[in-house]
């Protein structure tokens, strides 16, 4: 079902855990659809993401996308991090099953949510960032009966 990359990130998640006193933290998803992602960011004075950690309640893809997303943003500036799209996440994992693509959206949204929190805490505006919904849904192919 999953690529080797996904399995690797699921079984050996990178940057799993919490950051104490994070610069920003964001939680997205909901238990109803079975995925909750929380991202912690540690951002230095130059707006560079020094560290990023995650906690995730969800399927293998949810864990893997969280894990790879942390890797993708660490070392990036806030503005660069904002450009990490769900597509980048999927590509970095060598693809995701169609029914799991929503997990990558969730990862994108989690980063955005953490950045939003950082912006609010610091009373700044990050260009291109809008208040994230805390729920992510996606149109699904309706089965026809």
């Amino acid at each position: 079902m999953y690529t080797e990359k996904v399995m690797d990130h699921f079984t050996n998640p990178r940057n799993m855990g919490e950051i104490e006193n994070p610069s920003g933290v964001g939680t997205v998803g909901n238990a109803k659809c079975g995925d909750i992602m929380r991202m912690y960011l540690d951002i230095d004075d130059n707006g560079v993401i020094r560290d990023c950690k995650f906690k995730t309640f969800g399927c293998g893809a949810a864990v893997a996308t969280s894990s790879i997303a942390t890797e993708l943003v660490i070392g990036k500036t806030v503005q660069e991090a904002l450009q990490v799209t769900n597509k980048a996440v999927v590509d970095a994992l060598d693809g995701l099953p169609k029914v799991k693509v929503h997990c990558s959206l969730l990862a994108e949204e989690a980063i955005h949510a953490a950045l939003w929190d950082y912006a609010e805490k610091n009373n700044i505006t990050i260009e291109g960032l809008s208040k994230p919904k805390d729920d992510v849904s996606e149109e699904e192919e309706e089965p026809e009966y």
């Binding site: 999953y2 399995m7 699921f10 079984t11 998640p13 799993m16 919490e18 939680t27 238990a31 109803k32 659809c33 079975g34 995925d35 909750i36 992602m37 929380r38 906690k55 995730t56 309640f57 969800g58 399927c59 293998g60 949810a62 864990v63 029914v99 929503h102 699904e140 009966y145």
Partner: protein
């Protein structure tokens, strides 16, 4: 463990070697079409009827009341859709339960789109259908009650005898999806007032792609699959002789070994439940504690999600399921777990382990250990667990 531990016997089972043995001659030697007139082929008709007779006996039915289908799903579709057609002058209302298999539920949805009315009766927290609600749901236009014998996810066994009596009193046809119960529990269609019953061979160490629908003599029933005159003109299509013969053999063995298997499975089941309950916190057993299939265990672990758990168990060589196999790929938690009242996040953290007589105590103990280890690990990752612990502290 190096060896695979298969704990998903509700999804499908290993075909018994004796069953394969019985099937083999019908592929390359006795391959004739049973409808043909020449001896070479017509002997296959006898083989088919022998299997039919074994199966009929296993549920206390007459041979002519058993019709072979391609599986449990086709039998369910047939029972519902064709009944509708035959009894449409009487009414257009069906009663079923909220925890049926999708083969029933999606068929009911289809029927609803075609002008029929369906009442989905609730179950209690153990998954037992609410009989008072069922009784109240009966209308003059009710033509069918369809309630599964035992649930495929949580293993709860329904009060079939009571439902059969209610149906009989009201002169309503009673169908039961016995795909999970057949050959796991004793069934007598007369004692239980069952008018139609669906079963599938691959759930009882028979081959895939074969099942049957029992239809009581006298029940009006139309064909669902139209064509040739097979199955007494009720189910068209060249008979799947090897599979039918294999089904017969599987039933013969399963009926003969039922008691013994049940005892062993119940012992293993209780061992597994006890171990996990005592070693893992924040866990519950779903389904009725006594009225449950001998081989069914269903846990919900708080704060974690089922698929992750499954994949990690798989990496430890343990095959399990987090709901019905057919619905994996879906994002919604199991409709069965929601129906027994579990909140979404708890339902998502469910794990079904369905045993067989081939499992050993060693396997069970190892599985319990792995569950503990993996649940711990996943909880460390879980923001829900983090929140809970912080709140508690």
């Amino acid at each position: 463990m190096d060896k695979k531990i298969y704990l998903d016997n509700a999804a499908t089972t290993k075909t018994r070697p004796e069953v394969v043995e019985a099937m083999l001659p019908y592929f390359t030697e006795k391959y004739g079409n049973p409808s043909s007139i020449y001896e070479f082929a017509s002997q296959n008709k006898k083989a088919v009827d022998e299997a039919r007779s074994i199966i009929a006996k296993s549920i206390g039915a007459e041979t002519a009341e058993v019709y072979f289908t391609a599986g449990g799903t086709e039998a369910d579709n047939w029972a519902l859709k064709a009944t509708i057609d035959a009894y449409s002058s009487k009414g257009n209302h069906i009663i079923t339960s909220k925890i049926e298999h999708h083969a029933i539920l999606h068929t009911c949805e289809f029927l609803q789109k075609h002008g029929y009315e369906v009442t989905y009766v609730d179950v209690d927290e153990n998954g037992i259908i609410k009989l008072d609600q069922l009784k109240k749901a009966i209308r003059p236009t009710t033509i069918l009650i369809s309630v599964m014998f035992a649930n495929n996810e949580i293993g709860t066994i329904q009060p079939i005898k009571e439902i059969g009596e209610i149906a009989k009193q009201h002169n309503i046809l009673f169908h039961t999806d016995a795909v999970q119960a057949y050959c796991q529990l004793p069934i007598n269609v007369d004692e239980l007032n069952i008018d139609m019953l669906s079963a599938s061979a691959h759930k009882l160490n028979g081959p895939k792609g074969i099942g049957f629908l029992y239809i009581r003599k006298g029940a009006k029933l139309r064909s669902f699959i139209h064509g040739g005159a097979q199955e007494r003109q009720r189910r068209a299509g060249t008979e799947n002789v090897p599979a039918i013969v294999g089904f017969g053999k599987a039933v013969e063995i399963a009926i003969a070994t039922m008691k013994e298997r049940n005892d062993k499975e119940i012992e293993l089941r209780e061992r597994l439940i006890k171990k996990v309950m005592s070693e893992v916190p924040y866990v519950r057993v779903n389904g009725h504690r006594r009225n449950r299939l001998p081989n069914n265990v269903n846990f919900s672990f708080q704060f974690i999600e089922g698929e992750s758990l499954l994949i990690m168990l798989d990496m430890k060589n343990i095959c399990a399921s987090s709901g019905s196999a057919c619905t994996s790929g879906s994002l919604d938690p199991s409709h069965v777990l929601l129906a027994i009242g579990l909140p979404h996040e708890i339902a998502h953290g469910s794990l079904r382990l369905t045993l067989s007589e081939d499992n050993t105590e060693e396997e069970i103990d190892y599985t319990a250990e792995m569950i503990k280890e993996i649940v711990d690990k996943l909880r460390q990752m879980s923001p829900l667990y983090e929140d809970y612990m912080k709140k508690k502290a």
